[in-house]
């Protein structure tokens, strides 16, 4: 079984239950999921999340932090983080699935949904019986979702939705979509649960990706799509609602990215200890050691960041800015480690028989989604200066 670098004994900070979660998720993934990854990625045939989701559900890997009364494990945020770390060590697409399901689909239903919506959807999402997706990004609005063009118009007991959502994880296979649209009457952003098969609702896959090839991403189309008022998330009003969901998923990413980095480190360390050039193992050369040590240092800092952020999440004290810092830093760590590991493996580094090139390509998505690296810089910049630098008046001379 994978050991994983733990230079600062962060493991000792976990409870024995949390360690056991990691052990059991790790064991399950190694036996059931890892063998499927390379082919899925190579052929861009996304993993069958309808099947895998059920297995994840049995283990309690979906909506881990949501209470038991909704058929969820009712575990803590550290546990959710550990799950994300384990799955992303295998492939980022698995973490996308876990984080989207838990943070972007289940969380808004749990936080902003009616009791009926919670009872109706959460147990099925937790067991993997149905799959959800989250539609915020649009063709013309990625980093700036506040300018979204999708509209919602109230018509009696119904809402009429119009717009396009793109780059949506699991869009093509989802049974339900959480769709965000602007109410044309009050100008506020509202959330809707749109079920597969609803008239005027279309779902398509986006292919020819160079990243996240073991997972699915796609487009949602809404053309005079009518959903009932019962399908609106009653307590979600304004942009803060969709952004709060992103905080959940970003938190998961901060753990997940370190998982990918740990896998790259382990691969590079083992490889350079075995591989000989100029009569000695690569690991015996100072230039190689420097690279390995830099990876080790960055990973160790990232692990501590995850753990502390997890504790803050569990105490209900984590701020969006703290989450931004961890997402930004840890994805950078993963990006650095994947690239460095790839480099240390030489030509084998570009082969899918080894994980670094796959992690390296995947992490480009992670760098971009859930707030690009730049957007997190701007969030942090605003936090420390008090001056927002996202938006400006364009003066054309």
């Amino acid at each position: 079984m994978f050991k994983g670098i733990d230079f600062y004994n962060v493991d000792d900070l976990l409870s024995s239950e949390e360690r056991l979660v990691r052990n059991s998720v790790r064991e399950f993934l190694e036996k059931e999921i890892e063998p499927l990854i390379i082919d899925a990625w190579h052929e861009e045939k996304p993993l069958d999340f309808k099947e895998i989701g059920k297995k994840f559900g049995q283990l309690g890997m979906l909506g881990a932090f949501i209470p038991e009364e909704y058929g969820c494990p009712g575990a803590n945020y550290v546990t959710f983080g550990i799950i994300c770390q384990e799955v992303e060590r295998v492939d980022s697409a698995l973490r996308s699935f876990v984080a989207v399901t838990s943070g972007l689909v289940m969380y808004p239903i749990w936080q902003y949904g009616s009791e009926e919506q919670k009872q109706k959807y959460l147990p099925k999402l937790a067991s993997g019986e149905i799959i959800g997706c989250y539609g915020l990004t649009e063709p013309n609005h990625g980093s700036d979702p506040g300018s979204m063009e999708a509209t919602a118009k109230r018509d009696g007991d119904e809402w009429i939705l119009n717009g396009t959502k793109t780059w949506i994880t699991e869009a093509d296979i989802a049974d339900i979509a959480i769709v965000w649209a602007r109410d044309v009457d009050d100008g506020k952003i509202k959330g809707f649960i749109v079920e597969k098969g609803t008239k005027g609702f279309t779902q398509h896959a986006i292919t020819k990706k160079g990243s996240m090839r073991a997972g699915g991403v796609g487009e949602l189309g809404l053309v005079n799509c009518r959903v009932s008022e019962e399908n609106r998330l009653p307590n979600a009003v304004g942009l803060r609602a969709p952004l709060s969901c992103l905080d959940q998923a970003r938190y998961g990413i901060s753990w997940g990215a370190i998982g990918a980095a740990m896998d790259c480190f382990e691969t590079a360390l083992n490889y350079t200890k075995e591989r000989k050039q100029f009569g000695a193992p690569l690991a015996s050369y100072q230039l190689v050691q420097e690279k390995l040590v830099k990876m080790l240092i960055e990973i160790t800092k990232g692990q501590l960041l995850c753990w502390r952020l997890g504790k803050l999440m569990d105490e209900g004290k984590a701020t969006p800015e703290q989450i931004s810092l961890a997402k930004k830093n840890n994805v950078r760590v993963a990006r650095y480690c994947a690239r460095t590991a790839r480099e240390l493996l030489g030509a084998n580094g570009i082969s899918l028989d080894y994980s670094p090139i796959r992690h390296m390509a995947n992490i480009e998505s992670v760098y971009t989604y859930e707030g690009t690296d730049d957007i997190h810089t701007l969030i942090l910049g605003r936090a420390i200066t008090g001056i927002q630098a996202f938006r400006r008046e364009l003066i054309v001379k």
Partner: protein, 248 residues
Amino acid sequence: MNIIVLAKHAPDPESEINVASDGKSVDERGLVFDINDWDRYAIEEAIRIKEEKGGEVVVVGVGSKCEDTLRKCLAMGADRAIKIPVDTSLDAYQTAEVIKEAIKDEKFDLILAGMMSQDLNNAQVGVLLAAMLDLPFATAVSAISSIDDNSLTVARELEGGYNEEVTLPIPCLITVQSGINEPRYVSIMGIKRAKTKEMKEVDVKPTISTLEVEKMYLPPVKKAELIEGDPSEIAEKLIEILKDRGLV
């Protein structure tokens, strides 16, 4: 049916193995510990019997760090655990002896153990314990064909793909072969439930030592050599090597 299962917290044989600086033990830093693979099947089999027949499954672990494995068994469905915090791993007699002491007040119908441990491959703890308790036993059990209040019929795996069917009176002990079932994964819900289950520490010490380690070493790396040259040179070199090794 009350069942006792022995579960060892054992290093994965595929982890990094180095001899410690004392030259007599393994450096634990490179090791990944988990439930011994055979014991995973044993605990699964016990839980299945309990699910069908009712009763209780008690899991017993030996070793100062065996808690994670015991917790795992509880999360899978065992009812309670007994931890014996002494490190006897290398000495199978000691392990069996402390288990015998720790379970002396337990009422059981069946003891299930893995056939052997993945690190030491001694395959002794189960049978030693049976002997100490004066229980009938069967080893390398690959299937349980029937079980009632008085007896147990099992298939034992023999060499060459043969099986032997034996019937044992209850109480008895069996050691199970891997593959007897498909062990369940531990769910987060199970882990949460396990939190409230009893884990009792029983501090017993072995009375004698039956084994002393003099030296621990890694096997020498076997090398292959490609002999080059014309056929007569190759033949000469080959004869030299064979003579050198005392093979001709």
